[in-house]
C-alpha cells in the first residue's frame, strides 16, 4: 500500500499545476462569459499546453508522445481542471482517442494519423456516436428492439464507403481535425453487430459541421453537429473490422483503454474542480466578514467547508485508486462507480461553495457561479440513470462470477 507519487508523476503534476495557475486560470472566467459559443475558445492556450506535452500525454513514446501512465493522466487532468474544467477536458479528450488509436488502429493507420496528430499543436481529436434520436440506446442497446441506436448509414462503393446521416452533440466537432465515426453498415443487425467505426478527417468531401452548440457550462469545450451528405471515406480508414465497431466488447481485450478511460476522465476532472471550489471557499470564508468577524467563525460555514473537503478527499482517494487499477489492468466496476460518484460530489461541492459565496460580488462570486454551471454538465455525462444502471449491471455480472 503506497499512495506516494513517483518523481515523474510529481513532475507532471507540477507542470500541469503551473500551467493551470499561470495560463489557464487568468483566461478562464472571461472565456466562460463570452456572449456566443464561438468566443469561448482559444487556440493559444491549446498551443501552449501542447508545447508542454499536455495534448499528447497519452500517445506512446514511440510515436513521439509522452507515454504516461494512467495515474499521471489522472493527476494532470485534475490539475488542469483546477484551472478550468472545460480546458482540461479539451486536452484529455485527445488522450481518450489517442488510447483508441493505439489500441484499435492498425500500423498503417497509426503512421498515417498519429504522426500528424503529434506534429501539429492544433490537431484535436473527436468521436461521433450520439445522434438526434439515439443517445442512451447506443450505450445500453435494448434487447427487444434490435433496430434501436444510431442510424448514420455507411454503404460500400468500391474502395470507398459513402456516409449519410447526422451526429449530434459531438465534442470537439467544430475544432477537431480527425474523428472516429460509428456508422451502421448492416441496418438489419443489432447495434453491436451492424456498426463499423471509421476514421474521418475534418476535410473529408461531403462532411461538414452543422450547428455549433452554446452550452450553459463547460463553454470552452466545443460541441457541434456533424452532417454527412454522401461523404466519401476510404476503406483504409475502417477501424478494426467491418460490422464490429464496439471496442468495449470483451473481445476487444484491454478494458481499461478507450472508453473506460472516459470514466476515469470525468472523475479526475471533477476532482480538480472540487479542489478549486474547496480552495475558493476556504479563502472566502477566512477573509470575507459578516457582523465584523470572518465568515469561518460561524458553525454553519464550518460545516459546509467540512462537507466540501470530506467529499473531495473521498473522491480523490477513489480516483487515484482507479487510475492505479487501470495501470495494473485490474478489472472492476470501480471506474464507473467513481464516475457516478464524481457527479454527486462535484455538484454538491460547487453548490456549497456558491452558498458560502452567497452575495459575493466580483470575481469570487462569478467564479463560484461558473463552477456550478460546469458541474451540471456531469448530470448527463456521468451521473444520469443510464450511466448508473450500466455500472449496476457490471456489479451484478461480477457478483454472478
Amino acid at each position: 500500500m503506497d499512495f506516494a507519487l513517483s518523481n515523474e508523476q510529481r513532475s507532471w503534476q507540477m507542470t500541469a499545476r503551473k500551467f493551470a495557475e499561470e495560463e489557464i486560470k487568468p483566461i478562464s472566467l472571461a472565456l466562460d462569459e463570452a456572449p456566443d459559443a464561438h468566443g469561448t475558445f482559444d487556440w493559444d492556450i491549446v498551443e501552449k499546453g501542447s508545447k508542454l506535452g499536455l495534448r499528447t500525454l497519452a500517445v506512446p513514446k514511440e510515436f513521439g508522445g509522452e507515454g504516461t501512465d494512467y495515474v499521471t493522466q489522472a493527476i494532470v487532468m485534475a490539475e488542469l481542471a483546477r484551472g478550468d474544467s472545460a480546458i482540461s477536458k479539451t486536452f484529455s479528450q485527445n488522450w481518450k482517442w489517442s488510447h483508441l488509436i493505439a489500441q484499435a488502429c492498425n500500423a498503417e493507420q497509426k503512421e498515417r494519423f498519429l504522426r500528424p496528430f503529434v506534429a501539429d499543436h492544433r490537431f484535436l481529436l473527436g468521436k461521433g456516436i450520439t445522434e438526434p434520436s439515439a443517445g442512451s440506446d447506443n450505450r445500453m442497446p435494448p434487447k427487444d428492439d434490435p433496430k434501436a441506436g444510431l442510424k448514420l448509414r455507411a454503404e460500400r462503393r468500391g474502395d470507398e464507403w459513402i456516409l449519410n446521416g447526422e451526429k449530434c452533440f459531438i465534442a470537439n466537432a467544430p475544432v477537431g481535425k480527425l474523428f472516429f465515426i460509428d456508422a451502421r453498415t448492416d441496418p438489419n443487425a443489432p447495434l453491436r453487430q451492424g456498426t463499423t467505426m471509421f476514421l474521418v478527417p475534418y476535410d473529408t468531401p461531403g462532411f461538414r459541421i452543422g450547428k455549433v452548440f452554446n452550452k450553459s457550462g463547460w463553454r470552452f469545450y466545443r460541441n457541434g453537429e456533424m452532417i454527412f451528405e454522401n461523404a466519401r471515406v476510404p476503406h483504409a480508414n475502417v477501424v478494426g473490422h467491418v460490422n464490429n465497431s464496439d471496442m468495449k466488447t470483451e473481445a476487444a481485450g484491454d478494458r481499461t483503454g478507450g472508453d473506460i478511460f472516459g470514466d476515469l476522465e470525468l472523475a479526475a476532472n471533477a476532482l480538480g474542480v472540487c479542489d478549486d471550489a474547496c480552495e475558493a471557499a476556504m479563502k472566502y470564508a477566512r477573509t470575507a466578514k459578516q457582523g465584523g468577524r470572518p465568515l469561518f467563525d460561524q458553525q454553519a460555514v464550518q460545516l459546509k467547508i467540512n462537507r466540501m473537503n470530506m467529499l473531495t478527499e473521498a473522491l480523490r482517494s477513489l480516483v487515484m485508486r482507479i487510475a492505479w487499477e487501470h495501470d495494473r489492468k485490474i478489472h472492476s466496476a470501480n471506474a464507473g462507480l467513481a464516475m457516478n460518484f464524481s457527479t454527486d460530489v462535484i455538484q454538491e461541492v460547487t453548490e456549497l461553495n456558491l452558498e458560502i459565496h452567497g452575495g459575493a460580488e466580483g470575481m469570487a462570486g462569478r467564479h463560484a457561479e461558473k463552477l456550478t454551471r460546469d458541474a451540471f454538465i456531469w448530470s448527463h455525462l456521468a451521473g444520469d440513470s443510464v450511466q448508473r444502471l450500466k455500472v449496476a449491471g457490471r456489479l451484478a455480472r461480477m457478483a454472478a462470477h
Binding site: K215, S216, Q290, G292, Q298, G358, F376, H380, S385, V386
Partner: protein
C-alpha cells in the same frame, strides 16, 4: 374551517393567467434568444399586455381601482406567470405588492397625485429602495444574540423651505430599471421616513446589478444626489412598506419548478429509448415522482405562508404554529425546487444544458432562487431562533 378548495375568483384568475401565459408569454419566453443567459431583461411588451389584463394592480384594493387580490391569489397568479417567464412574474409581483402597500399608506392628497398615473400607465412600475450598501441583514454570527448596535441610516432627507433634499444610495432595489415611482427610505430630524420619488427626479441615478444576475426581473442600485422632492412626497409615518408580506417571490420559484417538471413529463412521454418512452422506465418515473412530490410539498408550504399572511388570526388561534411560515416555505421550496429542476433537466440529456433550450434556463432560474440573497442558511437561523423561542425585541429588530 379547513379547506383547500379555491374560490371561484381564484379559479378564474388562474385560468385567465394560464391562458395569458400560453398566448402572450410563452411565444416570447420560449424564443431561443430569450432562453439564452445573455438576455434576461423582462420583455416590455409582455409586461404591458399583463398590465392590461390587470396583473400590475392585482393586489391593489378594489376601492382604489385594483383587483384586491389577497396574498394567496397573488401567489397563484405569480406561479402561473413564472411558469411562463420568471422575469415577467417578478416585475409584476413586486409592483402589485408595492401598489397595495404604498397606495394604502398614502394620504388622500398623495393618492390623488399618484394613483391616476399608476392606473393609467401600463408601464408604471413601482420600486422600494430601503436597503443601504453595507446594511447587513444576515443574522449570521449574531444568531441567538442581540445585534451589537443599531445602525443608523446613511441616507438623509433634509427639509429646506418647501422641499426635501434627499441624498442616499440603496442597493438590491427590485424593479429599479423599470420603476416610474420609487419609495426611498431616508433619515430625517424626526426619524426614518419614506419618500416618493418619481422617475426622472433630479439627481436620481439607477444602475442595473452586474452579471451574474442573482435576481429575477429587474434590480439595481439607486442613488439620489441632492434631489429636491416636494414636501408632500413624504409618506405618512407608520406606512407598511411591503404588501402585507405577500410571499410572491416563493411563487416565482414554484412556477419555475413547475415549468421544468411539466416539460420533463411531456418529453419523457415522447422520447423513446430502450424500446419504449423513457417515462416507462422506473429510473425516470421515480425521478419524476420525486419531482412531483417536492413541488406539491413546496406549493403546500408556500400557500400556507400566503394564508398566514392573509389571516394572522390562524396563528393567533393556534390553527397554525407560531413559526416564521414564509421563511420555512422559502428554505424548503428553494432546495426542493432546485432539485426537482435539476432532475427534470437531466431527463433531457445533453439538451438540458444547451442555451437555446429551456431547461438550462430553468436550472439557472431555480439556482437564483436558492442562492440569491445569501441562500437558505440565514433563513434557517431565523427559524431556529423561533424554534428556540428566542424573540428579538422591537429595538433589536429595528436595529437590523
Amino acid at each position: 374551517m379547513y379547506s383547500l378548495s379555491l374560490s371561484p375568483e381564484q379559479h378564474e384568475f388562474r385560468d385567465t393567467v394560464r391562458a395569458f401565459v400560453d398566448g402572450e408569454v410563452n411565444p416570447v419566453a420560449l424564443n431561443a434568444a430569450r432562453l439564452d443567459l445573455g438576455d434576461r431583461n423582462p420583455p416590455l411588451e409582455v409586461l404591458r399586455s399583463a398590465s392590461r389584463v390587470g396583473l400590475r394592480s392585482l393586489a391593489l384594493p378594489e376601492e382604489l381601482g385594483g383587483a384586491g387580490a389577497d396574498a394567496l391569489t397573488c401567489c397563484i397568479v405569480t406561479e402561473e406567470l413564472a411558469a411562463g417567464d420568471a422575469g415577467v412574474a417578478a416585475v409584476l409581483g413586486e409592483t402589485a405588492a408595492l401598489a397595495r402597500a404604498l397606495f394604502a399608506a398614502m394620504s388622500p392628497q398623495q393618492r390623488e397625485r399618484f394613483l391616476p398615473a399608476f392606473l393609467e400607465d401600463d408601464d408604471c412600475h413601482l420600486a422600494l429602495a430601503d436597503r443601504e450598501p453595507g446594511a447587513d441583514k444576515a443574522l449570521g454570527i449574531d444568531y441567538h444574540r442581540p445585534v451589537p448596535q443599531a445602525r443608523a441610516l446613511d441616507a438623509t432627507a433634509v427639509r429646506s423651505r418647501d422641499e426635501w433634499i434627499v441624498n442616499g444610495a440603496w442597493e438590491r432595489v427590485g424593479n429599479a430599471g423599470l420603476a416610474r415611482l420609487f419609495a426611498v427610505l431616508a433619515r430625517t430630524d424626526d426619524g426614518p421616513a419614506l419618500f416618493l420619488v418619481p422617475q426622472g427626479a433630479p439627481g436620481l441615478t439607477v444602475t442595473e446589478d452586474p452579471e451574474p444576475r442573482w435576481y429575477h426581473g429587474s434590480r439595481g442600485t439607486v442613488t439620489l444626489k441632492d434631489s429636491r422632492i416636494p414636501l408632500d412626497n413624504r409618506l405618512p409615518a407608520g406606512a407598511a412598506t411591503r404588501g402585507g408580506e405577500v410571499p410572491w417571490p416563493l411563487a416565482v420559484n414554484l412556477g419555475i419548478g413547475r415549468a421544468a417538471y411539466e416539460a420533463a413529463v411531456d418529453y419523457a412521454k415522447l422520447r423513446v429509448q430502450g424500446g419504449r418512452p423513457i417515462v416507462e422506465h422506473q429510473a425516470i418515473g421515480t425521478k419524476l415522482a420525486d419531482a412531483a412530490i417536492r413541488l406539491e410539498a413546496a406549493r403546500a408550504l408556500i400557500w400556507r405562508a400566503a394564508f398566514a399572511a392573509d389571516r394572522p388570526d390562524a396563528v393567533a388561534d393556534a390553527s397554525l404554529p407560531d413559526l416564521p411560515h414564509a421563511a420555512m416555505a422559502q428554505a424548503f421550496a428553494a432546495e426542493a425546487i432546485y432539485r426537482a429542476v435539476k432532475d427534470s433537466a437531466e431527463c433531457f440529456g445533453a439538451m438540458g444544458v444547451m442555451r437555446d433550450m429551456p431547461l438550462q434556463k430553468y436550472v439557472n432560474d431555480a439556482r437564483i432562487c436558492l442562492y440569491g440573497e445569501g441562500g437558505t442558511a440565514d433563513l434557517k437561523l431565523r427559524i431556529a431562533e423561533a424554534v428556540a423561542s428566542y424573540r428579538r425585541t422591537p429595538s433589536m429588530l429595528a436595529a437590523e
